[in-house]
């Protein structure tokens, strides 16, 4: 039967390769040549990369697969930046790179040669909080706190985008986007909060932006 033939063949194949494998085992292991490294899908490739993190120059040698998020957390032990989904769907990993907020889980560390990264640890210190950090504390803008570093980094850079005239989905006049609660909510939609602390997150951001209850024009 074809099925039995197939089984037989593969068993014989297995036995032969087993013999080869044990024969090879006695030979000292050789370092793979570069050509092997490129074709052998199990051999990791490493590379040096240098960038600044919170003002401090860093030089790392990383597996090319290392995301910026993993480099920050695992290599540099900056665990303030969180991993939620690892697929760009939650915003927990948001950091500011060269002035722009990005999802650090969808970017490779080696793609940031010469770059400048700001994480939650670089925005402020426990003694000298960044105004956005202070506002989150003041407005109770979190519950478990897992999304918070991403929310804060996102909010800081987001206000810069609004100021620079970047439009959003709810902008009426593309030529001049204006502050409003609707604008802030839309622009922060890339940061999911599983605890749904949204009302207080928005209150904190409005406070820093100088709108909302303080200035009396809450939307």
């Amino acid at each position: 039967m074809a099925g039995t033939d197939f089984l037989e063949m593969s068993r014989r194949g297995l036995m032969t390769s087993g013999a080869v494998a044990s024969a090879v085992a006695v030979v000292p292991l050789a370092t793979p040549t570069p050509a092997q490294a490129a074709t052998d899908r199990l051999t990791p490739s490493t590379m040096p990369v240098s960038f600044t993190v919170n003002g401090k120059p860093e030089r790392l040698v990383v597996d090319t697969r290392t995301t910026l998020l993993d480099a920050l957390r695992e290599n540099l032990h900056l665990t303030g930046t969180k991993k939620g989904c690892d697929h760009g769907q939650c915003g927990a990993c948001t950091v500011i790179v060269d002035g722009q907020r990005i999802n650090s889980c969808l970017s490779l560390a080696v793609m940031h040669e010469g770059g400048s990264v700001t994480t939650i640890e670089g925005l402020g210190t426990p003694d000298k909080l960044h105004p956005m950090q202070a506002a989150f504390v003041r407005h109770d803008g979190f519950q478990c706190g897992y999304c918070t570093p991403g929310q804060i980094c996102s909010a800081v850079a987001m206000l810069g985008e609004l100021k620079a005239g970047v439009p959003s989905h709810v902008t009426t006049d593309l030529a001049s986007p204006k502050h409003s609660e609707a604008e802030l909510r839309e622009r922060m939609s890339g940061n999911i909060c599983r605890c749904a602390a949204y009302p207080n997150i928005i209150a904190a951001i409005e406070d820093v932006a100088g709108i909302g209850q303080k200035s009396g024009n809450k939307a």
Binding site: A37, A38, T39, R41, L42, T43, P44, S45, M47, D63, T64, R65, T67, D86, H87, G88, G91, T94, Q100, R101, I102, N103, L106, S107, L108, V110, M111, E113, S154, A157, M158, E161, A164, G165, V166, P167, S168, H169, T171, L174, A175, R185, E186, R187, M188, S189, G190, N191
Partner: protein
């Protein structure tokens, strides 16, 4: 993720040479789509060529009054460009209707055009999917197909094309500029860039040949009229479309309409455009002459007609 080697290209010519040298390689731009797939081992390139340093990050006026957008221009920068906001508002609106602020800061013009399906079976490597594994079958047919395409589907694949930006590029009659492996250039009209799944395997998605690289997208001179991008989705933000309408409507009631979410590629036809003055019903009838809907996504045809009606009403207001 499977191991890979990595290099940085300094120019488009550099990148196409590197592509030719490494048949298992992929270009990486923003990385927001490719890395997602590599983590799940949906794609497993042996080598990555980073094109972020190729200098294709400028937006320039063309002699005929149009705009040339470099392949590496970020989605945020494109949506915020003064001329795009003023003359090609449908493009600004389409971009900001997609993804999130963080993703748009990384996503590039070329990467967005080349983004792949969000079909859940494409993402689940345990399931048959012709797009991921040619010949394995299409799990969506007979499976959950509520989000899939209601027009343009074929026996091999029925997924909708997810890019919002591409719908606007389509309604604006953009042209994709491509560098060939030998360093010479060619152009592809946007209408021919995204492909129907067709009857052959593997399922082809883009008109780009192996080894080619996108260098820019050019827009013809501004079309005038009122610009709309209306997107209907399951949540108000940070979600893909069920149906979207990219439209440029002129004061005399004529116009151009491209639909997203409903087709296997940005969905537009000459007959659909010609029907614009006659209203939404006529446009939908023209665009949906040969539907391929399943029971579960039949609703998209009606939803699209109503969304067109909303846009045409807004154009009159």
């Amino acid at each position: 993720m499977k191991p890979f080697t990595y290099e940085r290209a300094k120019s488009p010519a550099d990148a196409v040479v590197a592509l030719a040298r490494n048949p298992g390689a992929k270009l990486i731009a923003g990385g927001t789509n490719l890395l997602d797939h590599m983590k799940l081992e949906i794609v497993t390139p042996q080598h990555l060529i980073d094109v972020n340093g190729t200098g294709l990050d400028t937006i320039e006026n063309t002699p005929d009054g149009g705009l040339r957008i470099g392949a590496m221009v970020r989605n945020t920068a494109l949506a915020a460009h003064p001329r795009v906001k003023k003359d090609y508002a449908v493009l600004s609106r389409a971009i900001v209707a997609g993804a999130s602020g963080q993703l748009r800061n990384k996503a590039t013009t070329a990467g967005n055009l080349m983004q792949r399906t969000r079909c859940p079976y494409f993402y689940d490597t345990n399931m048959p999917c012709n797009k991921r594994d040619p010949g394995s079958g299409c799990s969506a047919q007979g499976g959950f197909s509520r989000n899939h395409a209601a027009v343009g589907g074929g026996a091999n694949c029925i997924c909708f094309f997810p890019s919002d930006m591409s719908n606007a590029m389509n309604v604006l009659d953009a042209t994709v500029e491509v560098m060939k492996p030998d360093g010479t250039m060619r152009t592809i009209p946007i209408a021919d860039f995204h492909l129907l799944p067709g009857d052959e395997l593997p399922v082809k998605e883009f008109a780009l040949a192996p080894g080619e690289m996108i260098t820019a997208v050019t827009l013809p001179k501004p079309p005038g009229g009122k610009h709309f991008y209306r997107k209907v989705r399951n949540r108000a933000s940070y979600a893909f479309a069920l149906v979207s309408v990219a439209a440029v409507i002129q004061p005399d009631g004529t116009g151009n309409i491209t639909l997203g979410g409903v087709g296997t590629k940005p969905w537009r036809s000459a007959a659909g455009d010609a029907a614009v003055p006659k209203g939404a019903k006529a446009v939908a009838a023209a665009l949906f002459a040969n539907p391929t809907a399943t029971d579960q996504n039949q609703y998209k045809l009606k939803l699209a007609e109503r969304t067109i009606a909303a846009v045409l009403a807004a154009a009159k207001g």
